[in-house]
Subunit: 208 residues, 2 copies
């Protein structure tokens, strides 16, 4: 597969363009991203025995590696690849869980360019095989987070040929489910999954 | 997380230490590895609508990236990280599937150093949450492949303190299931999963 430019020209959160000293990556001054909040939430779910859900590593095409004596192998040339699946998957209450998480600075709609064809077809296949597939969308300027079943995303994706390249926020509010940021876990998306897929109506339920 | 040396000092199959021209990776002269055979098998399962199972990307700690104008971002410094999960997961017949695949040149036993603690704990958690977890072992010199339920691997892992650092091949033959290499798919491990977990005794069943 030919190495490709990173989708949307966006830097992945783990890639720092600033010079960094060897074996050391500073995350000091960055704000918490959606990815970091989800990773922390997944750690919480894992530690409490609630679910096993992980983010997949960023796909990278490795071209050149050096193997210095008595120290770690160094990748000297590599390129970002387009993911063939969504970023997150795992198991919750015996069910296969699969999702993608994206942020936008837009305030009135969520641009579909945040996704790509492979991911949409992947989510379609997951639904067909009896899994749970959804997206977590964050309007970063408004600090609002929504969970939207992939079944609602797919028609918007397929309708892009008609000109609309985004999902209006009003429709996300109507079709999706808001997630209030919390402390532990920061983004309790499984509470929404409980209600949507396990018909657990106990709103007071806390994951413990 | 501190960058670490690649487990067992082994080069990942996607990493080439030989000089390679930019944007080009040659796979020409390599024999088919277990990973490649499994990727092809998973492609087959995906295309036929049988299952959605993918290998996770190799985890890499990215330290330095250059963003040349009008061309793809280049990772100039990165390190291999230890995986926190197994390499493969997905969904089959509505069930969460999770496995690790390893090869050895040994002929009489499978060394446990091919796995690491995180992976074992991950497979334990998957079983606890109702998923299907197993390992695929290839004795490369003998060209024999076995599928072993993770529930059988865990006691061997935990018993290492008693001195034994490998699983005798005879015990893999007795507790595991041989997989005969085929053409399409090359490694039809889901046929074994059918028998083990779905009590499908129809030996003549062919995935189509």
């Amino acid at each position: 597969m030919a190495p490709i430019q990173y989708p949307n020209g966006k830097k992945p959160s783990s890639a720092l363009s600033s010079p960094a000293s060897k074996n050391k990556v500073s995350y000091g001054n960055r704000g918490m991203t959606l990815e970091e909040d989800l990773n922390k939430s997944n750690e919480f779910y894992l530690e409490r025995g609630i679910a096993v859900i992980h983010k997949k590593p960023t796909p990278v095409q490795i071209v050149n590696v050096e193997y210095p004596k008595r120290s770690a192998a160094v990748i000297k040339e590599a390129y970002f690849k387009l993911a063939s699946t969504t970023d997150y998957n795992g198991i919750y209450q015996g069910k296969y869980i699969d999702f993608e998480a994206k942020e936008t600075k837009n305030k009135t709609s969520f641009p579909l360019r945040n996704f790509h064809e492979h991911q949409i077809r992947h989510m379609e296949a997951i639904i067909a095989h009896g899994g749970i597939a959804f997206i977590i969308l964050r309007f970063s300027t408004l600090n609002e987070i929504y969970l939207l079943d992939a079944g609602h995303l797919i028609p918007y994706w397929n309708d892009q040929t008609n000109g609309r390249k985004s999902i209006p926020k009003k429709e996300i509010e109507s079709l999706g489910h808001p997630i209030s940021p919390g402390f532990l876990p920061r983004i309790d998306y499984l509470k929404i999954i409980d209600k949507m897929y396990f018909h657990n109506e106990d709103e007071g339920k806390v994951h413990k």
